[in-house]
Symmetry: C2
């Protein structure tokens, strides 16, 4: 790395995902954060400046409003893009689709998040499943939090030759913590109207070979999603074989109820105690003592931090598109080291 220029990364949209991507980029040895762009002129961009990030307004009007609010603005989105090799779009659903035209016109590589459709880039990304396919492309889509967790876990079983088909029930957190005051649900459960829910087909946009069906329901909490799986294996296997399959992925953390990690809040508290920014749980946190094998059937549950799980994948996607790494393991090793991933449940 010593003689190579660092890749300059722009982050467009400084919200729940954008601010975590910006933090993560700043920690990578082979990347530099060109700056972050947003439309807000309140406490949120002020936090970006406090971290030393260069701040840009989405349009001249936004930049002007930011200046009026006393924020130090380095320019507009156009200015930011001219200083970057690649842009990670973290703007809300549908806003990103409009930005894509601008990125293409400018000829800058770009990454969109899972709220966008597969067709927007024609490629869907999870490091362990589709890194190679992203190499040399000008864009990719990092799939949603739920889909990322599904592809990570089912890929682990597939690599071990154990996966026939998987059927999952997804408990989705009602709203993000910081938006709790804007409305969520209270004291009820809200099933997704249709079975299968969209996450199964979305996982197939990464790996068309996955036989997966999902059902989803919104639950009144904000911490994380929780998935329950019933998997038909290709053959009878021991619990140890299955755990070894999951252990082979650094992005799956094996946790234990018996270790006191017996609810979502306990796991989040451990992330805080580990000193992770925003208490991020980057891994799929899978309960190893709960996991059960009955002959050729497998049952397990895991927790998905919807705000954090896509962050390492986004970093890997940057390396795939820009050629910073030729294969997933090399990129993942760098990302994991920078973010402290891989320490949980390895013992």
């Amino acid at each position: 790395m010593a003689f190579r220029e660092k890749i300059r990364v722009a982050v467009n949209g400084y919200g729940v995902i954008g601010k975590r991507v910006a933090d993560a980029v700043a920690l990578q040895p082979d990347m530099t954060l060109a700056g972050v762009c947003d439309v807000a002129a309140d406490w949120r961009p002020r936090m970006a400046l406090a971290k030393g990030h260069a701040l840009f307004g989405a349009t001249p009007d936004h930049a002007a409003a930011m200046r009026e609010a006393g924020l130090e603005v380095a320019g507009t989105l156009g200015d930011l893009l001219s200083r970057a090799d690649i842009v990670v779009d973290c703007t809300p659903k549908r806003v990103a689709a409009a930005n894509v035209e601008a990125y293409r016109k400018r000829g800058i590589r770009f990454i969109v998040q899972g709220g966008e459709k597969h067709d927007v880039t024609g490629h869907s990304f999870v490091a362990e499943a589709s890194f190679a396919g992203a190499t040399g492309r000008d864009s990719t889509r990092v799939v949603s939090c739920n889909t990322t967790s599904i592809v990570r876990t089912l890929t682990a079983l597939k690599r071990a030759g154990l996966l026939a088909r998987a059927r999952g029930t997804l408990l989705r957190r009602a709203t993000d913590p910081w938006e709790s005051h804007l409305g969520g649900i209270m004291n009820t459960l809200v099933p997704e109207p249709e079975i299968p829910s969209h996450q199964g087909p979305d996982a197939q946009s990464v790996d068309p070979g996955l036989d997966v069906v999902t059902m989803a329901v919104k639950v009144p909490e904000t911490l994380a999603h929780l998935h329950y799986w019933s998997v038909q294996m290709t053959r009878s296997a021991s619990k140890d074989e299955v755990l070894d399959a999951f252990r082979a992925s650094s992005r799956i953390a094996l946790i234990r109820m018996g270790d006191g990690l017996d609810a979502l809040n306990a796991v989040k508290e451990m992330m805080a105690d580990m000193g992770r920014p925003h208490d991020n749980l980057y891994e799929v946190a899978l309960w190893q003592d709960m996991l059960t094998v009955q002959g050729d059937e497998l049952f397990y549950a895991y927790m998905v931090d919807n705000q954090a799980i896509v962050i390492p994948e986004t970093i890997d996607a940057i390396r795939a598109l820009t050629g910073l790494a030729a294969e997933a393991p090399a990129s993942m090793a760098l990302t994991d080291a920078a973010l402290g991933i891989g320490a949980i449940g390895r013992s």
Copy 2:
């Protein structure tokens, strides 16, 4: 019925289940409520008196405390049992097991609820699956709310020749509404530590032939349980065939997301609008538009009112033990008519 004496039913324990059983007994044409027995001396037994129920104290001390609180007490549990042909025990878990000795000594027929173990009576009851086996017995156990819903739905599929095996994820309400102030969970999800959870084996205590595995998680709401099922059928079937199988049971109400019944609270509000006591949902409320068939696989979700679903089964269990009805359909027809069951989703 004209020339037959009504069966006299005692209800021991006037809590969430007991008060609903008492109300339901009072509505049956072939039963009379001998009275209710409890240990509390506050507003709760006062409500029993307001309904015209005879009130008994569990012991002389309890009866004295009730009298001190200004309640009109008809005697103790012993007095109540001497005026009854059968007793429904609705006392808390483990208290019932101690009462059983007293019932046996007295030679009175008795019913315990699903909190007790199968061995306490040696027979577990769901009207559509095990009515015949209860005939002539001196006791039975009405299984828990979750187990009742599982046996009802899987029995419907089994009767239609469609059931091979069923795998379910159960979202359990955190606490009963009226006990919300005594503690529950907030903003988290608490998985049951073990897979499979106990409901699958419990369903097999009613029908050992069921191939069923369940996983369960506690969620922060009080309204009802919600089950998601993935069923392997014996063959490919149409959605209409499956719906017809469920329709054959009066205790399964087919509801629709498209009818505005898109969350637990909406279904409960409809029960209130129907004028049902305590907004009771006696049926398994199964979403017919959400239900999906893929070849020989079936996916669906339903809602279980944990406070109400066992009430009609308890009434049927009284008829089975006392010989008021020789077969399930005759008893169920009486129960359904008295409680207004069977009107939802039949059109």
